[in-house]
Amino acid sequence: MAAFGSFALLIALALAAYNLVAGAVALRLIATGQKTAILPERLADTARRAGLAGFYAVTAAALALVWSVFANDFSLTYIVEHSNRALPGWYKFSALWSGQEGSLLLWAWLLAGYGFVLRLTHKRDVKLYAYAGAILAGIQFFFLLVLNFAAPPFALVQGGAIPTDGNGLNPLLQYPEMVIHPPMLYLGFVGFSVPFAFALGALMMRYPGERWIKITRVWTMVTWLFLTCGVFLGMHWAYAVLGWGGYWGWDPVEVASLMPWLTGTAFLHSVMMQEKKGMMKSWNVWLIFITFLLTLLGTMLTRGGLVSSVHAFAESPIGYWFMVFMVIVLAVCIFTYILQYSHLKDERQVESVVSRESAFLFNNLVLIAACLVILWGALYPILSEFVEGSKVTVDAAWYNHVTVPIGLFLLFLAGVGPLLPWRTTSLKSVRRNFVLPCLALWVTVLVCLSAGVTPWKNGALDDGHFYALIAFALAAGVLTAIVGEFVRGARVIARQTGRNYLVATYLLVSRNTRRYGGYMVHLGVVIVVVGLAGSAFNRSIEGELALHDRLLIGPYMLENVGATQDSTPNYDTEYAQLDVYENGAKRFQMTPEKRVYLASGQPQTMVAIHSVLGWDLYVVYEGTNPATGQPIIKAFLNPLVSWIWAGVLLMAMGTLVALTPGKAALGSQLSVVSS
């Protein structure tokens, strides 16, 4: 199977090369009108077919690796390093992307898949799709070069006998979420190649008008949805597996996924300005260029081993390959931009600081600022090593110190933006739209202060409580603003159609799915922020518990009622059994575990979590005290964590609504009101 897989990758490389070269030549011939023996359109069609064929070739290679994993083919180095016979089926599947070579193959396969769909739907705009297809072929060519020559997934075990078993999968990855988190993340990372290809292609061909944004919109939103889900699945995995009670540690891999999400979010917003008002053209083009470059940078930082991380499993030379490719991509972007600069003249400028245009602009600036700050933190270890000879890492406190205020300002803009009109606004309009949200904000401040959320403790500013107070207050204001949009809109529809408010709300959303789906996403963001603010009130306690000893945390009392052990072919485990009491009555039992995976000999904690609306009770079995043999239990009470996951679900639902085609017919009934 190794020979077949390697051959399939070589075929894919050749097809990508043909796709790129033939596609570029065909477009050049069409642009210049040059007569040739072969019709340029025919040449372009063979290039497109080469792209389609490339998908089949990469799929064959991917299937070959899948086969090798399930067949326990330990003649392949990759299988030895990331799988073993006793590994359960689901985790064998996820072994495909647990290592560098497999994850690069996943990247190439997803890119080929996106390209496959793009090339099948090319009749939407033949020329634009031809440009985008050629650019995607260039990206695919790079990844296949790396797979064929720098990180081959089908490399054979060298020198000597074939091992009878493998080293197994990293225990950190043996968790259900790890089956879905990397594919989601990669669907997001790789997906940004498509809007990048469309943007660069539209610029190269001096696309007349903004219709290319409408064409690209679905791709961008789907990609953003996948990346959002990928990022939050990663957070949930970190929370449920790593056992430190938190969900975000500003690890380089986390940072690598967040940066393109920030710029991608900025792009999703600012393209609305270009579509509706013909503004921010240069800005948008560079935003998507940078988003794509950040997806490559993230891979270079983590897979290249430049910055140490719990995720970076090995250093490798592919970092240099990515660096060269990024330089080439950047050079192409700069060259194309300079050449076609005159095509990007804005049709109008921002007229007023208090306008929806300004809100979008500030939103973009703040998102970019957040990205730059985070990028600085990610690159600082490399720069410090280069300049001073020693690697200095930036801790979570620094990141939190700079990103929390930025995040709160973004939340503020999420509420302000929808309330402002385009172009300019009057004081009367501001008063009309901002009274209720401001009222909600100040009422929340008073409620929080009376509930004990006090920013000052013992005469000093408590950062956590201070930012939590601002977060809760802003959340209330933004929530009021967004709900107000739904209520006002539903009122109009109800008046016009005579339907009840529930039906009117449905008709409102279906009339303009993009806007109201977007509002749902904003609502989700508000809920997520409330959940994040809850971390300011986290509590924890640790103790050694003999049999029937107790631990008190918040409203709960934990009693040690015993321990038990178990064995599976994959791991040995010890459970602590803890009865949990609330108000004197036993409510449930929790069983945090400590596992040792047999293939690798690595230990792994399995956290026990009891989640309710108000908080999570999070319990970790830290092992036994060697001197006394008693179990050591650490318990956390983490307020509002479930709001984070609920908020993400709402963000995902909102994006799906926004992706649904709106019913324009109803909109035409509610046309211009005579003044």
Partner: protein, 90 residues
């Protein structure tokens, strides 16, 4: 799968994909360049959508009468310019 079998399967795959790529095809998609009129039509559609959104937001009570009238006039002027240019292009 033995190495030889793997190579044979690979060669067969390569042949199949090359045949698919270069299969003689007489009907393929082409596209005439977008005319100025088509571009103007797209712009007008967007301006009309902006007008509809503005009217809806006014009905929803977001803007006072004066703000709505000023914004509507600007959009109607823009639409009129586009219509005039479309008529010249026809």
């Amino acid at each position: 799968m033995s190495e030889n079998l793997g190579l044979i399967a690979g060669v067969l795959l390569a042949v199949a994909l090359l045949v698919y790529t270069f299969w003689p095809e007489n009907v393929f998609a082409a596209q005439k360049p977008k005319s100025r009129l088509e571009y103007l039509r797209e712009r007008k559609e967007q301006v009309d959508e902006n007008l509809r959104d503005l009217s809806f937001e006014f009905s929803a009570g977001k803007y006072p009468q004066e703000d709505f009238a000023a914004q509507k006039k600007q959009l109607e002027d823009e639409s009129a310019k586009l219509v005039a240019e479309m008529e010249l292009s026809n």
